[in-house]
């Protein structure tokens, strides 16, 4: 998903769920920040690099793909952008190494979605924003894994767009280009994707790179053959997935606000969004690569307030200038804690399932602290008590 959904649509969902303009602004800012909080950004504010929620292209180019490098990549991308659907999924007659990768395939309504939402309960608005990003991406990024893997994430030339044609649909072949300077040509169905590389662990095979930005466009419907799918065609209906994502975000935030007692999977706030549904669907189905203006106009109508554009520098000085003991109470400080908590939770669940692909996780309650020292911040904060909002 792009900034149009993570920022403006999340704002709309938050307002519909009952948050005020100020609260919704903080939630959507945090949801969008997940796509910008790289190690480079954290280094610029002297924050803990383990809290990175994304990797820039320059970082990926220099990223080693040895065991530790792959674990680092997987911790970031599986935790925030490709939440695994079933960590105990079985596949017959395959090697353990294949199964470990297969189990990281993302899909909506997996157990980890519930864990993610529950983790944000009674936490900061920043944690809510992170959870919204992760949940929304389970719809857009389904069928891809947040680890570099050709055998899971690769695609071939079998891509067909499904276009409405009167009362039915017609198909047309889609083409791909690897030129980084090119832009997607939706009229002629020519899209940019990552290079085909035969190395299993190259970053070109990370996530949905081989399918280009298709999962990020709300209007598009297409069918293709995923590498792991044993020649079964997958139909990706983005307008349907995106409206489900929106309704699930509203429901999740109703739960986080305490208006719903428990968060259940496969449950949506259809009744709440009913008055807005046709408007939302018209935005989602519009054939354009960026829906930001439409979502922004809708959000401003909902709240009656002006929505500021996303500015990465907005909270930088507040964090940099804060005293050491006050950093956790700044906007970015709370975001960092939320990111560390999410990454820690997902890594722990993956490790507990017997899968070392995201690294080793240590149970602090049983074994005390060990490993990456950045996470000490999370433990200190958890032990500190009443900092939660």
């Amino acid at each position: 998903m792009n900034g149009d959904f993570h920022y403006y649509a999340t704002y709309c969902a938050a307002v519909i769920a009952g948050y005020s303009h100020e609260e919704a602004s903080q939630i959507c800012y945090s949801a969008q920040l997940v796509d910008f909080c790289s190690k480079t950004f954290l280094a610029s504010i002297k924050g803990p690099k383990s809290a990175a929620t994304t990797q820039l292209s320059v970082e990926l180019v220099e990223q080693k793909t040895d065991l530790l490098g792959l674990q680092d990549i997987t911790r970031i991308w599986a935790s925030f952008h490709f939440l695994p659907y079933d960590l105990y999924a079985e596949k017959k007659h395959c090697s353990r190494i294949y199964r470990n990768k297969y189990r990281l395939i993302c899909n909506s309504n997996g157990v980890l979605v519930k864990d993610t939402i529950e983790l944000a309960k009674n936490k900061s608005l920043q944690a809510v924003g992170i959870a919204m990003h992760v949940t929304a991406d389970t719809w857009a990024h389904k069928y891809f894994a947040g680890t570099p893997s050709m055998v899971i994430n690769n695609t071939d030339s079998h891509f067909y767009e499904i276009l409405p044609d009167g009362d039915s649909f017609k198909t047309r072949k889609m083409k791909f280009s690897h030129n980084p300077k090119a832009v997607d040509d939706i009229e002629n169905a020519v899209y940019v994707n990552s290079l085909y590389q035969t190395s299993e662990n190259t970053v070109m095979n990370l996530g949905h790179g081989r399918a280009g930005h298709l999962p990020d466009y709300s209007f598009i419907r297409y069918k293709y053959l995923p590498a792991w799918g044993e020649y079964k065609e997958i139909l990706k209906d983005n307008p349907s997935d995106y409206i489900h994502a929106f309704a699930q975000l509203v429901y999740a935030m109703q739960y986080l606000r305490g208006e719903v007692e428990s968060f259940e999977l496969d449950t949506y706030a259809w009744d709440t969004i009913k008055p807005y549904r046709s408007r939302i669907e018209s935005i989602l189905e519009k054939r354009q690569v960026n829906d930001a203006e439409d979502w922004k106009a809708f959000g401003e109508e909902l709240s009656g307030e002006k929505i500021s554009d996303f500015d990465l520098q907005l909270y930088r000085d507040e964090y940099k200038n804060a005293a050491k003991e006050e950093k956790n109470n700044t906007f970015l400080g709370k975001f960092i804690l939320g990111a560390l908590a999410q990454k820690s939770m997902v890594t722990g669940k993956i490790y507990k399932s017997g899968n070392p692909i995201a690294g080793v996780s240590v149970d602090y309650e049983k074994n005390g602290f060990a490993g990456i020292k950045d996470y000490m911040k999370l433990i200190e904060y958890s032990n500190g008590g009443d900092h939660h909002e």
Partner: protein, 180 residues
Amino acid sequence: MSKMKRVGSVLMGLFMILFGFLLFLFPEKGMKIIIIIIAVSMVAYGLKFLTFYSTLARHMIGGKYNLYLGMIILNLGLLTATMYGTRTLPVFIYLFFLFGFSGILDVMKAFEEKKNKAPFWLLRLLFGLFSVSLGILAIFSCFIWKSPEAMTYLFCVLLFYSGFFRIVKAFRKTAVVYIQ
């Protein structure tokens, strides 16, 4: 390309140029070493593909490509090993055939890259065409000159330019399509 890979590529390029010089000075001994290096690396490469197929790629769409490629490379590696200690001329013909073949693959890949509007396709095309023309020249030359020494020197040229291109590629800007 990461810094480590760039350093590796430069070192490999320098090694190829150095080896070209050694072969130029000591053609007989150098050729035996070439056979060993090519045979071992092709067998290892073939086994790598076969292992990848059996552990991972057999579940992947189009994964059989790895099986076929692994078998072909492994067999070529074993065939190369059998040429150790045989007469010089057939070995060189075989080696030039291999380089010519990889040149054809490079040309095909360059056109594929051009079709996909990828940068640096021209560099790959030039590299491929040079390999092919050198291969053709060498095969024709061996029937006209019938001289192992001439073949050796041509092979040295091949090593020089391959090493040079590796170094050039190491300093090339890396363009990445980044999908978030």
